[in-house]
């Protein structure tokens, strides 16, 4: 390919050609195209929104400490309920796990200097802050009231201005997600260092391939549904207005065609983080590399055909219930493959109980529990009984908090030295882990019991008989609120004053650890050459074996 063409494709000149040596602090507030800057922008922004969403949760749990509606007005409760869910999904887990770790790590893991489309990447990030502003600004108009699912007709008859802002915010983060996915796919496909074959890329990258495919194919369908909802609210159409011939269940199909895969969007990158953290801290090769890689793709594929399990009570015909029960239960198979592979990796390993490892093992426990309650919910006969109760709330918080958030924490403790060049404080990290672990169990376990007894979700008031367990849940939520204090303190303090990390503090084998911490602007002076697979622990690095023998056999 001609020289001129390549120049057009590289907005950033190669290292040493017009770059600053190091980014200044204000570069992080600009339209910067460096994937590491964008990764940090995503991570910091999402951790701020985590606090906002968590604050809303604490207020809701305070309200729910008593059966009556006496702390928040019912409308405000609804607004917090809606925005807690929306912020935690679209502005915390998705941008942190996919945008943050994905952007920061993928080029470093595959030996690239940047993502395939750096400007598109920056654009994808900068769609997020305005979306967050729209959501927070919507409180001026009363806040969206209809829950994060925004089912019509409720979403069409409550707080129209705020609901419109909510829709625009989701369309913006959805666009961001699609642009990011295009970038991830093309980058992993085409930008690997030449010595890296498909079966040598780190499993985090495999997870991101599956995540990106899923986002690419499901997000636009949600966009279609939200555009129709937007027209219904603002331009007098009647797609979802039953009195004018419209159909509310159509919205549910469009919504869940995206939003069930969204569950996998939030957990697949976390599975990738698990597959990196566990072998490094267990000092063992990952068990079942191909099984883990392909099971990510299987989850991606099967995950596109399970969405109706959210709609078993929406007048779904029996054949649909049977089909979607079976497809839902099939997802447990690839997920189980991963769980067993990580357990087998731990088996007989020389485990280092670092905070990152504690969170990874905690995730294993939590996810098995959340996964099992997920299997029960996937079966239509049981789901019909507990639908719209706290059992569902307990289940998805176990997988989203006990799963995704634990995974993000594990990732931060693992890669913080790489990102900042400094070590986090381990004792403080362990305090954080213990508080989070206890808080999670105390908050989300009693919810299952409450749901089985019939306590409905989404409401500010409940029968007095549920008060005891609800107060337990509220205490758990307060513990979780306290648990973030040592974490944020640790991150801020260590970023400024922590001990220097060096290039490879964990003795890890993936490529991101071959450069300095933090990495230089174009990642490496000279791109690394692969001499072994990503998880070849247990080999003697000083042994003089020929490089070829250490490469993962094809």
């Amino acid at each position: 390919m001609a020289q001129a063409d390549l120049q057009v494709n590289r907005p950033e000149a190669p290292a040493g050609h017009g770059h600053p040596e190091k980014w200044k602090w204000y570069d992080y507030f600009t339209f910067n195209v460096d994937h590491k800057v964008i990764g940090i922008q995503y991570l910091v922004t999402s951790f701020l929104f985590y606090l906002v969403g968590g604050f809303m949760a604490v207020l809701m749990r305070t309200e729910l400490a008593t059966p009556d509606s006496d702390f928040l007005s019912p409308d405000l409760y609804n607004a917090f309920l809606t925005n807690h869910g929306t912020i935690m999904i679209f502005l915390w887990i998705v941008p942190a796990a996919i945008g943050g770790f994905g952007n920061y790590l993928i080029p470093l893991m595959i030996g690239a200097r940047d993502m395939a489309f750096p400007k598109l990447n920056a654009l994808a990030f900068w769609l997020n802050p305005p979306a967050g502003a729209l959501l927070l600004g919507s409180f001026y108009f009363g806040g969206a009231q209809a829950g994060w699912t925004s089912y019509p007709p409720l979403s069409e008859i409550t707080a129209n201005a705020a609901q419109t802002m909510w829709i625009l915010a989701i369309v913006m983060v959805g666009t961001s997600s699609i642009l990011g996915s295009v970038n991830f796919l093309v980058t992993i496909w085409k930008m690997r260092v030449p010595s890296m074959a498909w079966d040598q890329i780190p499993l985090f990258c495999w997870a991101m391939v599956a995540t990106s495919l899923l986002a690419l194919f499901s997000t636009p369908v949600l966009a279609a549904g939200l555009i129709l909802l937007l027209f219904d609210i603002n331009f007098g159409t009647s797609f979802f207005k039953p009195d004018a011939g419209g159909n509310v269940v159509v919205y549910q199909h469009l919504f869940w065609f995206y939003s069930h895969p969204a569950v996998y969007l939030m957990i697949l990158p976390i599975f990738g983080i698990m597959s990196e953290v566990i072998p490094v801290h267990a000092r063992k090769p990952i068990f079942g590399y191909k099984a883990i890689a392909y099971s990510s793709l299987t989850i991606c594929l099967v995950g596109l055909f399970v969405w109706v399990h959210h709609m078993f009570t929406s007048g779904t015909p029996p054949w649909m219930r049977i089909f979607f029960t079976i497809s839902t239960l099939i997802v447990a198979v690839p997920t189980g493959i991963k769980i067993f592979s990580w357990t087998a990796t731990l088996w007989g390993g020389k485990i280092r109980y670092t905070t990152a490892m504690l969170f990874a093992v905690g995730l294993l426990l939590m996810f098995v529990f959340g996964g099992l309650s997920g299997v029960t919910l996937g079966a239509a006969p049981f789901d019909i009984h507990v639908h719209d109760t706290y059992y569902v709330v307990g289940h998805f918080h176990y997988v989203l908090f006990g799963g995704s958030v634990f995974g993000i924490y594990a990732g931060v403790y693992h890669w913080f030295p790489k990102i900042t060049g400094r070590m986090l404080n381990e004792p403080l990290g362990k305090v954080h882990f213990v508080l989070t672990f206890i808080g999670t169990i105390l908050t989300f376990t009693p919810m299952h019991s409450l749901g089985m007894q019939g306590m409905p979700r989404r409401v500010a008031m409940y029968d007095p008989q549920f008060q005891g367990l609800n107060q337990l849940v509220t205490v758990g939520a307060y513990i979780l609120a306290v648990s973030v204090i040592p974490f944020y303190f640790n991150v801020i303090w260590s970023w400024m004053k922590g001990p220097k990390a060096g290039g490879n503090p964990w003795n890890a084998m993936t490529l991101e650890w071959t450069t300095a911490s933090p990495p230089i602007i174009e990642n490496w002076e000279v791109l690394p050459v692969l001499t072994h697979g990503p998880y070849d622990y247990g080999f003697d690095p000083t042994a003089e074996a020929p490089a070829e023998e250490a490469i993962v056999p094809k």
Binding site: L6, V8, V182, M191, V193, S238, G245, N247, V526, P541
Partner: protein, 201 residues
């Protein structure tokens, strides 16, 4: 440890990797796969309503076939015209590319004008009933995409005024505009079949 993964400064493969191939066409195709699914969502909604409602389209919102038929012929044939344009630039024929791209832009503009004319003469609006909701939303969204394609083509024409900007080796811009134009064309064929042909036949 550091020695295990070798940052060997003399390694030649790494240097060869420094300038990677142009990936923009691949990126656009990936994006369009996603974009197509948004239209697929609209198509699915349309088909659900069509199967659920006995009289579709209802009597007061009939569609006519002549003008959209002509429009379809214009848009579909413009896909061939724009292809002649990129073929020309691949043989370093800049004047030929500008000619064919200009004709494509004109055809796109005629298509949009025809659609607006149709809107004005149908006698019903967006809010009339469920069919008109679907009709205006789907054709309107497609029209917006045609407009974006038109802007891309005009952008290529604008840039082509700079000497040497496009030639037989550097022509990713025209190529991407062409791919996008084919995309709006394919979407239109599905849309036309659903809204007009399925309705009338």
């Amino acid at each position: 440890m550091q020695g295990a993964i070798d940052s060997n400064p003399t390694a030649t493969p790494a240097v060869a990797h420094e300038e990677h191939q142009d990936l923009r066409v691949l990126g656009l195709l990936t994006f369009l796969a996603s974009e197509f699914l948004m239209f697929a969502g609209f198509f699915a909604v349309f088909l659900v309503f069509r199967s659920a409602i006995a009289e579709w389209p209802p009597a007061e919102t009939e569609v006519e076939l002549l003008l959209p038929g002509i429009n379809t012929i214009i848009l579909v044939s413009s896909s061939w015209v724009i292809n002649l344009g990129t073929k020309a630039i691949k043989q370093n024929d800049l004047a030929g590319m500008r000619k064919w791209f200009g004709i494509t832009a004109a055809m796109g503009a005629v298509f949009l004008a025809g659609q607006i004319y149709e809107y004005m003469n149908l006698g019903y609006g967006l809010k009339t009933n469920l069919f008109s909701n679907c009709f205006y939303l789907m054709t309107g969204f497609h029209g917006a995409h045609v407009f974006i394609g038109l802007v891309l083509i005009l952008g290529v024409l604008w840039r082509s005024r700079r000497a040497g900007h496009y030639n037989d080796v550097t022509h990713v811009g025209p190529e991407m505009a062409e791919i996008y134009w084919h995309f709006v064309d394919v979407v239109w064929i599905v849309l036309f079949s659903l809204i007009y042909l399925l309705t009338l036949l």
